[in-house]
């Protein structure tokens, strides 16, 4: 339903807002990507190397963002931790998409009891807070890098599957899918050639939105001590660590949240831009 007018919309639509949005979003993500990829190389520190002489050092020429309770360089740990967080978020979104997109396509196209059964399972997942689902999965396998990825992926797929399904239902009976059916195309061909291209804008936008949620929830799990485990850094793990001395040394807790805010903001702005460009009917009115 949302994607029919894609071709028309890439040229039409309000251009006024898009200009600054794409620059702001792009700049945020670009700077942070640079920070994560190049930061550890130019700082010259090992993220896990302790230096008890320099505990809780403030920002200085040696340590640009200061050091933590074990004298580890915070700039390096935040950059390396960002890599971890982004890897988890990307992996979780990939996992959720790998489950949700085929399931959504299948249930939306076939309807009937398959649809009914899968959607009741999805309803069930809606009733339990995402974070609690993720925490429950961490409870099964123990906290680690890969568990966090798995837990977030498994917690996210139901939302995505429902969205894909309802979008499929919207285009399933439109004239052009009917036309394909009339000329003898099988279900597989219709899904591949008619439905998936129509859904592509929605899929791109939703994957982006989900990525933002994944970064926030990684941080949430980390904050509870259920994410990446010490001594390895991730943005969530850094926040968890900073809780131990937030009253005596608030600096670490304060700056640890900044890259999360900026990355998610950048992702959300880009999602808006993509929505405006690709999926004008779903664009915020």
């Amino acid at each position: 339903m949302s994607a029919v007018a894609v071709a028309a919309a890439t040229t039409a639509g309000p251009r006024v807002k898009r200009g600054w949005k794409i620059w702001v979003g792009g700049a945020l993500l670009g700077i942070l990507a640079l920070f994560m990829l190049v930061g550890p190389l130019i700082s010259g520190y090992d993220p896990n190397a302790t230096d008890l002489e320099a505990r809780f050092a403030g920002p200085s020429a040696q340590h640009w963002l200061g050091t933590d309770d074990l004298g580890r360089d915070l700039f390096t740990r935040m950059a390396v931790g960002g890599r971890m967080t982004m890897l988890i978020a990307l992996g979780a979104v990939a996992l959720a998409s790998a489950i949700a997109i085929p399931l959504g396509l299948l249930t939306g196209y076939l309807g009937g009891w398959v649809d009914l059964a899968v959607m009741r399972v999805v309803d069930l997942f809606f009733a339990i807070p995402t974070l609690l689902v993720a925490i429950g999965i961490v409870g099964l396998f123990g906290p680690s890098f890969s568990t966090t990825l798995l837990a977030l992926g498994l917690a996210f797929w139901p939302f995505y599957a429902r969205l894909v399904r309802s979008a499929v239902v919207g285009v399933r009976d439109l004239a052009y899918t009917d036309a394909a059916r009339v000329i003898g195309a099988g279900p597989w061909r219709i899904i591949r050639k008619e439905i998936v291209p129509a859904l592509l804008p929605l899929l791109i936008v939703q994957t982006t939105v989900l990525l933002g949620f994944a970064v926030l929830d990684e941080a949430g799990l980390g904050f509870l001590g259920l994410g990446v485990q010490p001594p390895d850094p991730s943005w969530g793990a850094l926040l968890a660590q900073s809780r131990g001395f937030v009253l005596s040394h608030p600096w670490i807790g304060v700056i640890a949240g900044v890259p999360i805010l900026l990355v998610v903001l950048g992702i959300n702005i880009m999602a808006d831009v993509l929505r405006d460009r690709l999926d004008p009917q779903g664009a915020s009115t």
Binding site: I128, G139, L226, G257, I269
Partner: protein
Amino acid sequence: MVQYIARRLLLAIPLLFGLSILAFAYVRVIPGDPVTAMLGVNSDPELVARLRDQLGLNEPWYQQYTSWLGNVVTGDLGLSYRSRMPVSDILIDRIPATLELALGGLLVGLLIAIPAGLYAGFRRGGRADNVITGATLVGLATPGFWLGTLLMLLLALQLGWLPSQGYVPFDVDPVQNLRLLVLPSLTLGLAIAPYLARLTRTAVVETGGEPSVSYARAQGLPEGTVARTVVLRISLPSLIVAIALTVGFLLAGSIIVEELFNWPGMGRLVAAGVSERDYPMIQALMLIYGVIFIVVNVIAEVLQGLLDPRVRLT
């Protein structure tokens, strides 16, 4: 109307059933065996065998399920692996604190989001809309616990206006209880406000084109009156349902906020339960959070039906 309510209630039953299956299955899919999880890996095999028998783990799963469900319905949620106390007793102690926090957070969230969303939706495309939409975008990207840390540092440590963390029951010291409630509920409220504001704005934009709104304007009513009386009144039914759906965010948020402010509610049991591998506790918490969500949403749908007769017909 009675028929409508009955249908809503009936629809909740399969959901509750599914939830119970999920919670039951959860403890069964633990790698290894619940008894080993309970007693530790190097326990006496004879003791393990006896406990397995005692817990009914040798019976077929559907018998285990029915007897477990029977217990749950009568309020017996099993024993906590850690404290050996009944899970239901522990939960009952914790529920009031969580409810207080959730209500406080919801109140703060609504007080910010409803006026903001109403104004932005009503003045769609204007400068105020841009500012509010921009603030929403930043709010959605802000991790709640980080915001809470900043509020704590600012309002409690720098300015000293409020106690930084802790909890006193309301019946012991009402004033201190409320003072301690401010920071956590402010954090939770600010965390859910962007979602609520967005929902409100969408609802208002959708109803803004209704004939009754144009009519109210044509009568010469001031814009503020149109917004408060006509637009809000029309959007209210769909808004209630939308707010009920954010209860999930509210509950998830409370898990983190309770941890941050040492607020002794159910949420703190979640992290503790997982790190101590207290499976009956995690199972009970899944059930409780799920039931709260389902019940709140049924109530919201019933309210929607009461306020908007059209909903009852579909």
